[in-house]
Symmetry: C2
Subunit: 408 residues, 2 copies
């Protein structure tokens, strides 16, 4: 697995899509959002950093299950600050990211970097930031994803005494920003400590991101392996409340060759290939998600502007504006309905009546700009032309898999 | 798998143990129980039928998972009234039992047979009894166990409309009397219908009896099989509340040879051997359970008699008996403590104070016989000599497995 130099074509596609979205938003959407105070009614105005954030994969598990070795396996080489060993070794969260040279960055510095997605971590204070670190290196995979290595979870007291921050809360923070959460288990000692269980429970709401790895599964006799796998599913099914079961990949993810009989080898190889393939699709899925989120945002913005435009038109031009606005706001449902009928906008694109009324109460309708049909047409073009054009850049289903190793 | 004629040595051992227990109880325990009204304070006086009941194995599952074929596989031949086929076929509960000749017996007749353990089924009325049947045949396995075939569980409405009795309640009745409940699943179509889920939930309290069979598991590609097995464990873990996971046997239990690759074959063969071995141990475990239950009963009886004896001694011989009994009963804790100290009886052997007081209120202490030390010594001998002698008849650990096919 020799590391490859330079950027791969597939990475460039996703980067171009992101750049395209960024440009569309900056030139055609953001000005409208600013004029019509979309940020106050919905979610804050976005900036480039919000588009740039790489998809992230978080690795969580008891100590020594092979989290760090797993990352090393994906990278095909050591990363700066890496510690692998039989005792609890990794003692901090490490964000493994792309960089042209090998280097590590302390957590405090990462958390204040404007172009990094780690600003929010400041809230965990120095107790956490001193146990957080960035590792940069030049491996193609990292063009697509950032990998988060974590300290192994210990059982019970040892855990709590040793840590100067709330492990579960930090996990939750990362999980909500990640695309995939990989839970690792060791086939030789399958224990789900209370602490680990709490960490899994903290992932509630991100169930769809969870994937499980049953690691070190070679060298376990087949019948025993099946038993262990079953016990794992049994326990996970009790902790994760979804009816659909989580995907478990059975394998041995490090750089030693598989040590097992032929049947197990075949199974493990298929499973490991499946996992690598799923990880390969993370950037694509993340890009698609970004596109979807922008489409949703533009549609909300459209409805928002039409609503404001309509309300302005209903206002008397000279006197009694205050009273008129109050009256308008008390009949909001009716006005929404009119806008819905006039412009054929889906009901789902309209804001929550109470919330809209609340925010609008603090504003003067008169101060909003008039509805400018050209601006609206521009937004429409984003939805009907610009974004579909970006979408067409995605490799077709199937060809993505055949492209040279997104995961090296 | 040719059926064997005659009774096997191992069956005779268990039968002798049962006969021994029966005789001990009848001659040395039951007379004491009767004199001291043990049946009213604890559980009813037992008769021979209570000892004779064969261990039972109940088979439950969606239709067509192979329940009837499984029984046929264990027996090595067809049984009277057997129906095997791709459509819902078995339309009734069938108790497959030993008999010298092939014959079937209608449910109504079974439920009134004094020497059969099915009397309680009368409470489900004719709606059920017309869908209940006995099948007798001469197969050695049936010396040890009675197998209960059941109609397949259908999904939703079809089920409820077709049935003239409450399937879940009947299952619960059998489960509480069985030694093993086998839940069968078909590896090709793993569905747990609501009805089946209700049936599993009705087994609460009998979790330790549940074993699961993932049937028809040959001819399924290994990776897919692992996936299916995982999904099964996931779902079962949600329905069965115990933290320890249930044992699932992966196999294909009918008389066709396994159709699968070498690795799967090895796994399935081990699994199937495990299941047969566990079934082999059912009679042994059932006999041990009977012994344990009798020991427990004798100890309770001993404490009961000592308590009554003590209370009688405390009674004034002539006047004021009523008042004295009331006073004694209000101080029961104290008197229990005295008996506990005097005779060194474990606290756990004493009855519940409130319950004892309640039953005693309806009796006159004076009418109970005096404590007869010879009778007590007799009971002691049962515990210290007679039962250990019976226990020594059990084949030693290990040799049980090597004995010729308890399961043919
Ligand atoms: N697939 C594997 N098969 C067998 N041994 C492995 C495998 N992966 C890692 N190991 C070994 O397991 C030990 C722990 O590995 P590693 O340090 O990667 O685990 P970790 O989960 O990162 O531990 P910690 O939580 O302490 O950071 C090391 O000795 C490593 O060589
Ligand atoms: N191990 C097996 N592998 C493949 N097919 C099987 C296996 N066991 C049974 N079958 C087939 O599956 C079908 C259903 O079998 P069977 O009648 O024994 O199931 P059942 O669970 O008793 O069904 P029902 O609930 O309708 O009574 C039959 O066609 C039978 O030949
Ligand atoms: Mg580590
Ligand atoms: Mg059947």
């Amino acid at each position: 697995m020799p590391p490859k130099k330079g950027k791969e074509p597939i990475a460039e596609v996703y980067d171009s899509v992101t750049d395209g979205l960024k440009a569309l938003y900056r030139t055609k959407i953001r000005p409208v959002e600013e004029q019509f105070k979309f940020g106050e009614f919905y979610s804050p105005i976005m900036n480039d950093g919000d588009f740039d954030a790489k998809p992230m994969v978080l690795l969580v598990g008891q100590y020594s299950v092979g989290k760090t070795s797993f990352i090393r396996y994906l990278l095909g080489r050591d990363f700066p600050g890496q510690h692998i060993g039989p005792e609890p070794t990794t003692d901090r969260f490490i964000a493994v990211m792309h960089g042209t040279d090998d280097k590590t960055t302390p957590g405090n510095a990462l958390a204040v970097s404007p172009n990094m997605p780690f600003r929010g971590l400041e809230m965990f204070g120095n107790g956490f930031l001193s146990k957080f670190q960035g590792a940069q290196l030049d491996v193609p995979l990292l063009h697509h994803v950032t990998l988060i290595d974590t300290p192994g979870i210990l059982a019970g007291e040892k855990q709590r005494i040793g840590r100067s921050y709330d492990f579960t809360q930090v996990c939750e923070w990362f999980a909500s920003r990640c695309d995939i959460v990989l839970l690792l288990f060791d086939a030789h000692k399958l224990d789900i400590s209370d602490e680990f269980q709490r960490a899994i429970e903290a992932l509630k709401g991100h169930d769809d991101k969870i994937r499980v790895v049953l690691n070190k599964a070679d060298q376990v006799d087949a019948q025993k392996l099946v038993r262990i796998y079953g016990a794992l599913m049994w326990s996970l099914g009790k902790v994760i409340k979804t009816p659909e079961c989580v995907r478990v990949y059975i394998g041995s993810f490090w750089d030693e060759p598989l040590k097992c009989n032929e049947w197990s080898r075949q199974l493990l190889q298929k499973e490991m290939a499946d996992l690598l393939n799923d990880l390969k699709n993370v950037p694509k899925n993340a890009a698609i998600r970004k596109v979807n989120e922008l489409v949703k945002r533009v549609r909300l913005c459209k409805a928002h502007v039409y609503v404001i435009g309509h309300l302005k038109k209903e206002m008397p031009s000279m006197f009694g504006k205050d009273k008129a606005q109050t009256k308008l706001l008390s009949n909001l449902e009716e006005h929404f309905l009119k806008v819905h009928r006039t412009h054929g906008l889906p009901v789902g694109d309209f804001p929550d009546v109470a919330r809209f009324r609340g925010v609008m109460d603090g504003h003067d309708l008169a101060k909003f700009p008039k509805l400018d049909q050209k601006m609206m047409d521009n937004m429409e073009t984003v939805l009907t032309k610009d974004i579909p054009k970006l979408m067409s850049m995605f490799p077709q289903e199937g060809s993505a898999n055949s492209s040279s190793g997104a995961v090296s």
